[in-house]
Amino acid sequence: MWEQIRSNQTRSAILVVWMGVLLLLLGYFLGLYFFGSGTGGLIFALILWIIMSLIAYFQGDNILLAMSRARKISHDDHPRLYNIVEEMKIASGLETMPSLYIVDDPAMNAFATGRDPQKASITVTSGLLQKLNRDELQGVIGHEMAHIKNRDVLLMAMCSVLLGTIVMLAWYASRFMIFGGMGGTRRSSSSGGGGLGQIIIIIVALVLMILAPLMAQLIYFAISRKREYLADASSALYTRYPDGLASALEKLAASTDQLRSANKATAPMYIVNPFRKQGMAATDLTSTHPPISERIRILRSMAGASFADYTTAYRKVRDTNEVLIPAAELTAAGTVALRAPQKEATEKPGEVQRARETSNLMWNLNKYNTITCDCGTKLRLPPRFRLPEVRCPHCGRINPV
């Protein structure tokens, strides 16, 4: 029952194959249009795709982490967060502990990276640490852990590469067509081929150029949405407490901060879509992610914590008979009872204390030196501070550095 959800994996794989077919078709007809050789275009598209996939496979997580300016942290930097990740690692049965990163951003979000469960990492924003209590944070981390455990990260990375290649090809082709690409057509017409065939090729190439990116995007969204539901279901199973994730999602939905370092390509990696209009709440505008309100309603109406309970709630809320999780998984899971909320989660540490913890963490990560004066004032010295002593601005005492 803890094995990955295989039949869904194959269904996602079929969708990926469709995207690949779309790319090859696009390459073939663009090749026919520009160079008069379909196979040439096909090979060009294929090579482009392979190169980009290789980069994404070997360097994708580094690029993503660098782009979001994430900082690696250890147990002593933030014991609670580290412990929660370790708890979820144990609950999910993952063998290696993922590395932990933090992004200094008031927006609330989290994402998982890593091509396989042995080399995974989880990144959270400081805003998330500040505003979520222990149970909520556990729900979010459980969701990310599920992405790692179900190998969604690699699947989504490969999908976004495919999407990116299609968009790129279509974009460059359209520029060529507008700015003096017509010569290519004439050249190919001289190398034989009837007038009618030529027109058909042009039309197909044009239609593909416009439709392929759109269709690829639709497929992409279909895949990523399904993975989100599955990750929610797994998180509920790991934590045995779906209300934790639900209340975290409520807080995330209500927040209006926009993540500074996100962009369109990385959007599906996050727990909620970071790419939305400034000042607008992340409720139902999202397309890479299922509507948050729906995710919350499903989680809230779960009677137990098993996959079967999630499926029941999913069908009730969405009013469908869709097979989200294959029957074999459901019967194996049995009944799984919910647990009570953690006592300390509801009371302490309170939001003020969490905010203090998080800002301490960020100061320390930026290598600021903290000195506590006898009057209780905390002095933060930047890493470039070289003087041997410092005067407290509050009480005037001289403190040695």
């Binding site: 029952m1 412990n83 370790e86 708890e87 144990i90 045995r240 194996a332 049995g334 300390e344």
Partner: protein, 187 residues
């Protein structure tokens, strides 16, 4: 001639099935062992945290010697059976859990203690270890369930009994938390 080939074919299929089922059983048994090792790590971690906790708390709670001694005693007992099976350890660790819960409940009445950074850090570690124990228990019990199903269901049960695969034991920690109210002493 054909009959011979069919015979050979049947034998090959039987051998392949046998190997597959046997390997599946071994895999599940290793999964159970692994999961048990996880629990063991967390239980040890809890044992290691307790002396620290008792040291920290002692200075503040002068009048709670009984509660502190109960924790220390439960810990010693738990360490003595550290190599025993899941059933016995579950009972002893349950005692330790309830003794710890009582101590933490009593600690609520000492504002100085609750303000101590050291105590807060210890409390977080203890709460998290407690969580880790229950999460690893979840995982272990699920692994045992899968393994036991394999040893009892047809046709793998035949191979299991032939090769001596014994059913695994579930791990349950019975916490008698609210069985007795913590003694309040005014002196």
């Amino acid at each position: 001639m054909i009959a011979v080939w069919i015979f050979i074919g049947v034998i090959v299929i039987v051998i392949i099935t046998f190997v597959a089922i046997y390997n599946g059983l071994v895999r599940s048994r290793n999964q159970v062992k692994n999961a048990w090792a996880q629990i063991d790590v967390q239980l040890k971690r809890r044992h290691d945290l307790i002396p620290n906790l008792v040291e920290t708390v002692k200075g503040y709670m002068k009048h709670e010697r009984g509660t502190l001694e109960a924790v220390t005693k439960a810990r010693t007992l738990a360490q003595q059976v550290a190599s025993a099976g899941p059933g016995e350890r579950g009972k002893v660790e349950g005692e330790l859990s309830s003794a710890l819960n009582r101590l933490l409940a009593v600690a609520e009445r000492y504002p100085d203690l609750k303000a101590s950074q050291n105590f807060l850090a210890l409390q977080e570690e203890l709460a998290s270890t407690e969580n880790k124990i229950s999460f690893s228990r979840q995982f272990y019990n699920d692994a045992v369930l899968t393994y036991n199903n394999q040893t009892q269901m047809f046709p793998s049960n035949i191979i299991a009994s032939m090769a001596g695969f014994k059913a695994g034991e579930f791990f349950e920690v019975t916490v008698a938390a609210e069985r007795e109210a913590p003694k309040v002493s005014f002196t």
